[in-house]
Subunit: 414 residues, 2 copies
């Protein structure tokens, strides 16, 4: 597809120049972007209004429209995000290792930019600035393909960023927006091996699966979270209820919220009594027969329910006979995101952490902490649920690669 | 495809048990495999004879048959490889980082096995043991799909390894062979997302491209090497000839051999004179008009020639006006493997190393050193030419992932 090819070629041409920019230039550009975002707040909100009006005309739900909105608070949030990215140490140029070989060759493993990063995401226009800033600081050109409903907001934000970096002598094509938001442009990005070094999809399960299915470029799978809390035989039940409540209801729409609970049979009666007292029907439950003996369920859960990411005030539940059964269930239905055991047993805690195949495995804490800021990465571009390259919250390092620099004085191989 | 599904499910079931095996058990199993390989050398050679006879009947060239052969020397090579893998430190369980958060949560990033690794390779049966040993030491189950012509050798070797590990209490299904070597089994592996965490193709460009094109599982692209030596204006020309000669002729069939030379115009006459004196036609040259003024060329090179991995006593050549032209040419035609500048200029050396987008960038040394053993990784499963996860020679760490273990005492997110 010529349109995407052209964007890709421009990104590839711009990337080496950004790779050679020092930290100072990159930070100055980000700082100037922050200043201009503040300065242009009214114009940003005006551009965003067009998107919101169009969305209302299309009959989009208010919940979805809320994601689209850029108001003063969200602009301040973007500026705050930029300040945090500026404050992060520059990963580029880090010496990761190396040695002098017996023949005198010096081999130095050095962190370098990824090159060109593609982002495919949905309708949150603040992702446009967050993602561009992280890729920029990591020294890579970025191709942003946001959702069609946010296109006016995204155009304004990307124009602002492009002008700013160009004013500071960095090629504008280090930050590009795919303005044609057809399915074709997304698929073309997924197959742009000539120009894209890494593609990160951010959004719902359907988007992620489409990318996995179609991409020939390297991809990092992010954000699907069918997360569980397992309440062990030896759990402090007040702690268990508190963690389940936090992990389910503090922000149900995010990927590190839980979707399912597993409860050891020996504590199920007491646990569900406490949970029911707290929730009083606030969270809908689908569960197995034994859950239904203890708490009101909407329906008896089947495998589809156990595999569902509700992202709402709803969860699935199962009473289990043993830790092993819980581990087996989680490894079968989980998406490798965040899993938790509430237990008083050191042995069970360690077994759970060893055997559960997920990015973040918790003992006695809410899964809601799986987050780049919480983990001290300073920022995040997404949460990887795959095992290749990066797992869990991805900070700046996850957006880099490395190369080996070898210095010799005429060595040949014998 | 049911046949591959079944193999995948068995690998996935076996993997957690291997992940929990200690270093001692893994090393004992590898050591016992080495002992039994030696003990069964005659039987291995007999099984291999069947493959060779079949290949001869099919009219396979002697060069290709040579890759198939297992003789006493190659068996000794496999045993030596096993000893090297045993000697490597176990990567699993390494604490890669972590911190205690202000709320008291302890976050520990821990190295864990990849899970299930698929290998698709061609007709070298020694790869069967090398790859199985590396995956095993790295704690992952492996699914091996070798070439159809090596199937008798591979069956014998895999049976021997399976029996050995089972005798030591490790599930045999940690090492499995895909005995049906149809195109369908390969494609089914490429799409086995449910069970395969990482797929590594090892072989020629056609195999690699087929995998990239078809795979939905995470892949590491390996081994294509269109490598260059650039002879700079300030090069020591004797050193340049020596490096070009080594990088081209010491072993022309491997991926870190060079396929192309770029020569600065100011030294081209003198350089080609020396090269011609050394080679006297031993290496065929395809080159641009200006190369042809200095040395006999088979034909004037076009873009297809510059993109070709000859893997033979043949190379492409171009006279360039500047370092920048050389860098541009390499970044256009290179495969991101190994690139070299011969120069006396510190400035040019640094510029070349910064700007060239490849796994290994050499100053004044032969590209033939790009190798896991040479780089001190102790072993290698292949040489990655992509930027995601691993770049350049891949040792044990490249076969691992990590997870975050988080310990709390009831923390919830506010």
């Amino acid at each position: 597809m010529e349109y995407i090819e052209k964007i890709g070629a421009a990104a590839k041409a711009a990337a080496p120049i950004l790779a050679d920019c020092g930290t100072l230039t990159k930070n100055r550009a980000l700082s100037e972007i922050a200043r201009r975002l503040n300065q242009n707040a009214d114009a940003i909100i005006a551009a965003n209004k067009l998107d919101i009006e169009n969305a209302r005309k299309k009959g989009m739900s208010e919940t979805l429209i809320d994601r689209l909105v850029l108001d003063e608070k969200r602009i301040a949030g973007m500026v705050d995000g930029l300040d945090k990215v500026i404050a992060l140490p520059d990963p580029i140029g880090e010496i990761m290792g190396g040695s002098e070989l017996p023949n005198g060759l010096r081999v130095v493993q050095t962190r370098v930019p990824m090159g060109v990063i593609g982002m495919i995401y949905e309708n949150r226009p603040n992702v446009t600035v967050d993602a561009a800033a992280l890729c920029f600081k990591a020294g890579s050109a970025v191709i942003l393909r946001g959702g069609s409903n946010a296109v006016n907001s995204n155009k304004f934000l990307v124009d602002l960023m492009r002008k700013t970096i160009a004013d500071l002598g960095v090629p504008a094509d280090c930050i590009q927006l795919v303005e044609e938001t057809s399915r074709e442009t997304a698929v073309a990005m997924m197959k742009l091996n000539k120009y894209i070094d890494l593609l990160i999809p951010r959004g719902g399960g359907q988007l992620i699966r489409t990318v996995i299915e179609n991409a020939t470029v390297p991809v990092i799978q992010t954000g699907e979270g069918n997360c569980h809390v397992y309440v062990d035989e030896s759990a402090d039940l007040d702690m268990a209820v508190n963690i389940v409540n936090n992990a389910k209801t503090q922000r149900p729409s995010v990927c590190n919220a839980i979707e399912s609970i597993l409860v050891h049979e020996s504590v199920s009666a007491a646990f569900f009594k406490k949970l029911d007292e707290l929730w009083q029907g606030k969270v809908a439950v689908v569960g197995d027969e034994r859950t239904a003996e203890n708490i009101k369920v909407e329906k008896i859960a089947d495998d589809t329910d156990y595999a569902t990411e509700f992202l709402d005030y709803k969860l699935s539940s199962k009473v289990v006979k043993s830790l092993d059964e819980a581990i087996e269930h989680i490894n079968k239905f989980g998406t490798g995101h965040s899993e938790c055991i509430v237990t008083g047993s050191l042995e069970n805690a360690r077994k759970f952490q060893r055997r559960i195949d997920a990015a973040a495995v918790y003992v006695n804490a809410s899964t809601r902490f799986t987050d780049g800021f919480e983990f001290g990465l300073g920022a995040e571009i997404g949460i990887s649920t795959q095992k290749l390259h990066a797992r869990g919250p991805m900070g700046l390092n996850a957006l880099t690669s490395y190369k080996y620099l070898i210095d010799g004085n005429g060595q040949i191989r014998g």
